[in-house]
């Protein structure tokens, strides 16, 4: 599903966010991406869904070379990937139901269908009772769960989750992980960036560890 070959990413002259990263994630796999603060986890995920371009190297996602696809096709790539952003990236001026439904809206799904599926997605993270609230009216953990619901609503072929449980209590963390495993068992490839060692140990999945932009253990 994800094949990265000798990828480098340099934001500025002095330092390298990623150096010579070669990583393969198979279709249907569930794996963790870990490493200390500033190691390059978020940067790697950004390269996968083409928010950023690598300075060097190639990345193939779902058979498409994302370093070379034309601008017009980028939205298509992104629609096939569900992303839980580290800073949530919710639309402040829309209710959380609208936020979750937006992914379907841009596919011009009928609005009834949008609502139905968005409600189901919110229910799976336990927030259906707050569906008419705006993001800033929610607690940090609640916002994070909305971001998770949005990432999952369109049954993506690939799920990228960046520190998806940083604002959640241990019980809720386990619930979300169970949800991710369910989604994974339905065929979605899952890549979770996290610091939570306890969670990684408990799930016993494959771990890719970064440090200062380099892969240290596979």
């Amino acid at each position: 599903m994800i094949q990265a070959f000798h990828v480098y990413k340099q934001y500025d002259r002095e330092s390298c966010a990623l150096s010579d990263v070669t990583v393969h994630v198979n279709k249907g796999e569930f794996c963790f991406l870990t490493g200390p603060s500033g190691a390059g986890k978020t940067t790697f995920l950004k390269l996968v869904f083409r928010e950023e371009l690598p300075s060097q190297g190639q990345i193939i996602v779902g058979g498409r070379n994302v370093t070379a696809i034309p601008d017009g096709q980028i939205p298509l790539l992104r629609r096939s990937i569900g992303v839980v952003f580290q800073d949530f990236k919710l639309l402040k001026r829309r209710t959380i139901l609208e936020n979750v439904a937006f992914v379907l809206k841009i596919l011009t799904v009928s609005s009834k269908e949008q609502k139905r599926r968005a409600f189901t997605a919110l229910k799976s993270v336990g927030l259906h009772h707050k569906m008419h609230a705006y993001p800033l009216q929610l607690s940090g953990g609640e916002q994070q769960r909305v971001a998770i619901a949005r990432a999952l609503i369109n049954d993506p072929m690939l799920l990228l989750a960046d520190e998806p449980t940083g604002n959640l209590d241990p019980d809720m963390t386990m619930e979300i992980m169970t949800l991710f495993q369910e989604v994974n068992s339905r065929g979605t490839t899952v890549l979770v960036a996290t610091h939570d060692r306890e969670m990684i140990q408990r799930l016993g999945k494959r771990v890719i560890a970064l440090e200062k932009g380099r892969v240290v253990t596979e």
């Binding site: 980028i74 992104r78 639309l91 402040k92 001026r93 937006f102 992914v103 841009i106 949005r150």
Partner: protein, 297 residues
């Protein structure tokens, strides 16, 4: 179907955005309206002045006052000679009685003055209308000199100096109007693209998020274009509406009935008014596209 849904989404979003920050949009529509109002005012003045000048030009006159008790034969030969001149558009004979009648019509207050004086003080005259072309002023000068000494002509009166002054004034109005008009069209484009740029800027985060979850560029920008069209259209409508109100309140009432300007003052033709509104909408589209041009993928 998909296209229709997208279009509906654009319009809905545009209205939601207009409504959510209605104060800011009211202010911006007001600004656009004022720009177009100023433009419309100039168009109104220009079109009226143009019509008035056309009317006045047609009235450039030389008056040949005739000697008292002039023989009809001599008068007729004068009339024939004038009618044959290529610069002359028409000749009218005004008798002494007609001159008195006109005086009484123009100055009703002084009705009885001529009678007090005991005798009709007004001479008969030939009113010569000069063809309204580019050489009109030169022709006036030539005719004046030519007929000042003609037999039977006592005195030649003509409007040359005032016409020169008027022409200067008209030229001035045209310059100023063209100058301000041009600047104001630019200012309108500026204002709309300014407001749309700022609107987009206040929602930069949102636009980024939309793109990151897979919305196409067209899908993200559509609502802004529609918003621009609506803003421009509303601004144009408000501008024309205000202009019409102002016209009715100020100019219409005071001048429509009198004919001191030489003709009735009229409002913009409906086509031009529509053009302002449609122009506002076009400017809205252009302004929004310009302001969204450099959005990243």
């Amino acid at each position: 179907m998909a296209l229709l849904r997208a279009l509906r989404y654009f319009v809905e979003e545009a209205f939601i955005s207009l409504w959510r920050s209605r104060l800011i949009h009211a202010v911006s529509i007001g600004t656009i309206a004022v720009s177009l109002l100023v433009l419309g005012t100039f168009l109104t003045v220009a079109s009226n002045l143009h019509a008035a000048v056309a009317e006045w030009s047609r009235k450039i006159q030389i008056v040949l006052y005739l000697e008292d008790g002039l023989e009809g034969r001599i008068r007729e030969s004068l009339e024939r000679r004038l009618a044959g001149d290529p610069a002359v558009a028409g000749v009218e004979h005004v008798t002494q009685e007609e001159a008195l009648r006109r005086f009484r019509r123009l100055f009703p207050d002084l009705q009885r003055l001529p009678e007090d004086l005991g005798e009709n003080p007004f001479p008969a005259s030939l009113e010569v209308t000069v063809r309204a072309d580019q050489d009109a002023l030169a022709n006036v000068d030539r005719l004046v000199v030519e007929y000042t000494q003609a037999p039977g002509v006592e005195q030649v009166q003509y409007d040359s100096l005032w016409i020169r002054r008027l022409n200067t004034a008209i030229q001035l109005v045209r310059w100023i109007g063209g100058f301000l008009g041009g600047i104001l069209v630019i200012a309108s484009v500026f204002t709309i693209s300014n407001v749309i740029r700022l609107t987009a800027y206040t929602r930069q985060d949102e636009l980024d998020i939309m793109r990151l979850v897979g919305a196409t560029r067209a899908y993200v920008q559509g609502p802004f274009v529609v918003e621009g069209v609506i803003q421009g259209g509303l601004g144009g409508l408000a501008g024309v509406g205000l202009l019409w109100l102002a016209f009715r309140m100020l100019v219409g009432r005071a001048l429509a009935s009198s004919d001191l300007l030489g003709r009735a003052v009229v409002f913009l033709p409906i086509q031009l008014a529509a053009a302002i509104v449609i122009g506002g909408m076009v400017v809205g589209i252009v302004g929004s596209l310009v302001s969204l041009r450099r959005m990243p993928v």
